[in-house]
Symmetry: C2
Subunit: 475 residues, 2 copies
């Protein structure tokens, strides 16, 4: 990020430079050796500690978390050591899952509990899933019983439910109050929770009946009733709703906050745009990694073994499909022995089919994510993708056939190659459309490992079609 | 999206059902044929038109746009035909680029101009890039000269600059005013622009000196000065700043809006979270498609030719690499003819190497996007990825070697296969880390076509390493 972007980031950049300098200085002290070593080292150390503490003080939590993510494990531990308890908990909230788990694992139980005690209930609930069960229970024991209930309720929702992401920090108003009464209440309460653009309005029975925008308190006469100026068309969610749907509603209706209500219309919490954005970013990152066959995000500085194992699931799926492909080709070894040019040409069919299948799948996954595919247009989609493939198969098949002719001067071979291209393109497109649709209908994430599955399938297909055509028509 | 999510969406769903019913009814009328045909058809048509107009009225613009995206071209044209001018411009704003271009292309100049005349200046600037130059000029001619200047200034910024996404719709206050004066001004002005959580504060010279949160007007005594209650640590942007950086700052500091200032500190506009979310979503979608080798998003109902051509750039790059690979294998045809098992085993090496390279690249692209890679940890990253590959190469190489031994009972062949796996894994990881880093340093988007480039390279590499080892050691 460019240095002139934000006053916060200047400070983070300077801290990074400071840590770098410490590393160089400590290295120099180490190198001088001998008797002077310990004295100088402890002096330097005390100076450095004081400076580090001072600098850490002025840094925005989000910048601190980002800085820590890009620091090697030693420097990260150093920064963590000099953070006061009040900030440790907040930093944990901002870190990525991988780095957070690492840090929680390497921090002692008592230290962790003091860090957690500084967090409010909503934040403790957010961290809940990352904490060892014993620690979470100990952290909860010191809280009031309604706070304990809130954390447990929040943790009972899965990570893709609104209930997991909502917070309890909100101010509600009654529909019969006058605006000046509301304003007096707000003043008595002091600062409003972050992302309060509007207040939920409840009727006598405590059911949500509208929302009152802050600006409507400012813009209307003080004696107006809440019920007169509130908006009654409210986008609200239930704790069981899917966060993906909620995120789409936030984008669509440009929401900053939205009330969460239970089945009886009672207000139970509030969902805010920052939680939604966090969820969207996490989901987008996970998707990008999953497509490529990485199970979850990695701490850049995690150990080799942990990182290697993170990639094994999809590597092994890939290997099984590769073995399968190898047996397909193996079945045609007799044909290849008679016409060895087949071995050189077969990767072309497989590779181009893989590319076209991946293009189709990417477009279908995107349309699924945007809710653009329904029963009414599914047939159209299939027809279109297959037409494109036949067209592309003919165009690029002709190019490939010409290429093969230049090298092998064999018209029959070129003809078989072109036919194989058209067929493979078509089946790749058919599979590229139906695989994500099928996975989606089965309630699975269509992006998960899609490129591994698809490439395996189109490779197998390309080899099978090309080699079997060749063995029937050429040899 | 589930039906109980939002009051808006109910209406959109009912409209979709209505259009479906119309299609069925019109089909029935078509089928009855003969004399009754025209009379019934026109009656039905008039009833349908009235009902359609009525239903369209109650639908939220964002839902309307989504509905239109998933409608076949005929139904889309029907909905468009019955939209009043005032809503047509807003729908254009919400549509995806592909569908928008389609609709603009099929709408007459005069119709388009009336739709545009209903838009405010910021929205016209947003549409600017999609409009034919003549139409944009005609739409501008009817505007005040300061509005014309604003649109032209906004269009002069590239799509990845803050200047392109900022809006001019804001209310600023002076630092010496009292809060009650501010409130009177706001009341005189009426409704505030969307996403106004705070007002920019300027000093005598018109320079930004702080921000005043709406809630601080509500919570503080009416006679307090703006300068006493405003916040002075402000995250602001310049029009030249990169929107990616701005988006990260919005996420990081949980911003709803932020002032945009020029080099002299003068306020020139405002960036809001809805524009940032739109940009982030567009960028994420484009990335996902680019990785798979699709140039841009497609209208699901666009013509076959346009869609086929959209995939040609990367298909042709893929084809060139496939030709290259074919010639690598071609150079070893003599070896393969002597030991045809090589042809069956070589796809395994290429396929698994492609997978491991894609995993590495996906992780590096993600770390680049999150600004986690810097000069200090680059070496660590290389060392780590190469260690993982050597480890994975040995583990999975042994599995593959065992598999090959079961089928071919040839210890030397299995040994060569394992050696090839370790080498290919290592080079694939090296390339998987350095390719995105290099592209990034060259100022190019590292995600663009990455899976096509990487798979081509690792395929070539896998075949080359395996076949050349075999020709030296086995034949």
């Amino acid at each position: 990020m460019s240095a002139d972007l934000s006053p916060h980031q200047h400070r983070a950049e300077r801290l990074r430079e400071l840590l770098q300098r410490f590393r160089v200085e400590n290295h120099l002290v180490d190198a001088t050796g001998g008797q002077r070593h310990e004295l100088e080292s402890s002096l330097l150390h005390r100076q450095q500690a004081a400076e580090l503490e001072r600098r850490l003080h002025g840094i925005h939590i989000a910048d601190l978390a980002e800085l820590m993510e890009s620091l090697p494990t030693d420097d990260r531990a150093l920064v963590w050591q000099y953070l006061p308890d009040a900030r440790r908990g907040e930093v944990l909230l901002e870190l990525s899952d991988a780095v957070r788990d690492n840090l929680i694992g390497s921090t002692g139980q008592d230290e962790l509990l003091s860090a957690l005690s500084a967090l409010d209930t909503d934040d403790l609930a957010c961290l809940g899933d990352s904490l060892p069960a014993g620690i979470l229970q100990a952290a909860l024991d010191s809280r009031a019983s309604d706070e304990q209930r809130w954390v447990q309720a929040s943790l009972s929702y899965e990570e893709n439910r609104v209930g997991h992401w909502m917070n309890s920090d909100m101010v509600m108003v009654r529909h019969h109050e006058a605006l000046d009464t509301v304003q007096r209440h707000l003043q008595a309460r002091g600062e409003l929770p972050a992302h309060t653009d509007k207040l939920p309005v409840v009727d006598q029975r405590g059911s949500l009946c509208g929302v009152l925008f802050l600006q409507d308190i400012l813009l209307n006469p003080p004696d107006a009733r809440v019920s007169e100026v509130m908006k009654t068309t409210v986008v609200s969610f239930k704790p069981e709703d899917n966060v993906d749907d909620a995120a789409r509603a936030f984008e669509r209706y440009d929401l900053v906050s939205a009330p969460v209500i239970n089945v009886r219309g009672k207000l139970v919490g509030r969902l805010t745009v920052d939680a939604v954005m966090d969820y969207v970013r996490e989901a987008a990152e996970t998707d990008a990694l999953n497509i490529a066959g990485v199970v979850e995000s990695e701490d850049l500085f995690a150990g080799i073994w942990a990182s290697a194992r993170n990639r094994w699931l999809w590597l092994s799926i890939n290997l099984v499909s590769a073995f399968f492909i190898s047996r397909i080709v193996g079945a045609f070894e007799g044909t290849i022995a008679q016409l060895v040019a087949l071995a050189s040409l077969m990767p072309i069919v497989a590779s181009v089919a893989g590319n076209t299948g991946n293009q189709t799948t990417a477009l279908v996954i995107r349309s699924l994510a945007m809710d653009q595919i329904n029963a009414g247009n599914m047939r159209h989609l299939f027809r279109k993708e297959i037409s494109i493939s036949v067209l592309n198969g003919i165009v690029w098949g002709a190019v490939v056939a010409l290429f093969a002719y230049i090298f092998y001067r064999n018209v029959e071979l070129s003809g078989v190659l072109m036919l194989a291209m058209v067929l493979t393109f078509t089946v790749a497109a058919l599979f590229g459309v139906s695989a994500p649709l099928l996975l989606n209908r089965m309630g699975r994430d269509p992006a998960m490992g899609s490129s591994v599955i698809l490439t395996g399938f189109t490779d197998a297909l390309g080899f099978l079609i090309f080699l079997s055509l060749a063995s029937f028509l050429l040899v």
